[in-house]
Symmetry: C2
C-alpha cells in the first residue's frame, strides 16, 4: 500500500535537526496519528515519548536502540520498534522515507 | 484550515535539491493532487511543468518569477502563482512550509 486513504494531513510539517528530518502528521478517522517523513543522510539521535514503530518505505540505515551495543541494518520494507521514553541512534546511508506508527 | 480532510497521502516523499525541499503528495477524492512541503533556508530555482500556486503556511521568502527583474517578499498566509513550463527563483530566509496547488 503506497498511500494512506481517508485521512487528514496537517499542512505544517515537523522539522527536526535543522531539516535533516522532515515529517507531516497524518490523522486517521479514529483520531490516531502517524507521521510520514524523510531522514536525509546523517547520523542522529532521536528521543521518544510514546512507543513507536518506524517502518522504512525507502532507503537504508542502521539503528542502535538505547542500551544496545550493536547496530542493526534496516532497509525498505523493514521496521523497528522503539520503547517510550527512550532513544535510538540512526545512521542513514541514503535518504530514508518512513512511516512512524505510534503505539 | 490547518489540515486537508478526506484525502490520501503518499508514503514516499518527493525530495529535491539534496533535501532542501521535501514534500508529500496529497490526493483528493476527485483525483486532483496538491503537495505539502517545506523549503529549508536556501536559494533555489524551481522549474514548473503545470501552472501552480504556492501557498505559504509558515515562514518568509522572496521570489522572482521567470522574466521578472525584481524580487517580491511573501510570508505566511500569502500565495504566488507560477505559469506552466516556467521557473522561479526563491530565497527562503527561514524554513518555509507550503501547499503547492496545481492548476
Amino acid at each position: 500500500m503506497k498511500q494512506f486513504d481517508n485521512v487528514s494531513v496537517l499542512k505544517q510539517a515537523n522539522v527536526y535537526f535543522d531539516g535533516k528530518c522532515v515529517s507531516h502528521t497524518v490523522v486517521f478517522a479514529d483520531g490516531s496519528r502517524k507521521s510520514v517523513g524523510v531522514i536525509l543522510p546523517s547520523s542522529l539521535t532521536f528521543n521518544t515519548a510514546a512507543p513507536e514503530v518506524m517502518e522504512l518505505i525507502a532507503g537504508r540505515c542502521r539503528v542502535r536502540l538505547q542500551g544496545e551495543e550493536g547496530w542493526t541494518d534496516f532497509e525498505a520494507g523493514q521496521s523497528f520498534s522503539v520503547a517510550g521514553n527512550s532513544s535510538f541512534d540512526i545512521e542513514t546511508f541514503e535518504t530514508v522515507h518512513y512511516v512512524c506508527h505510534f503505539a
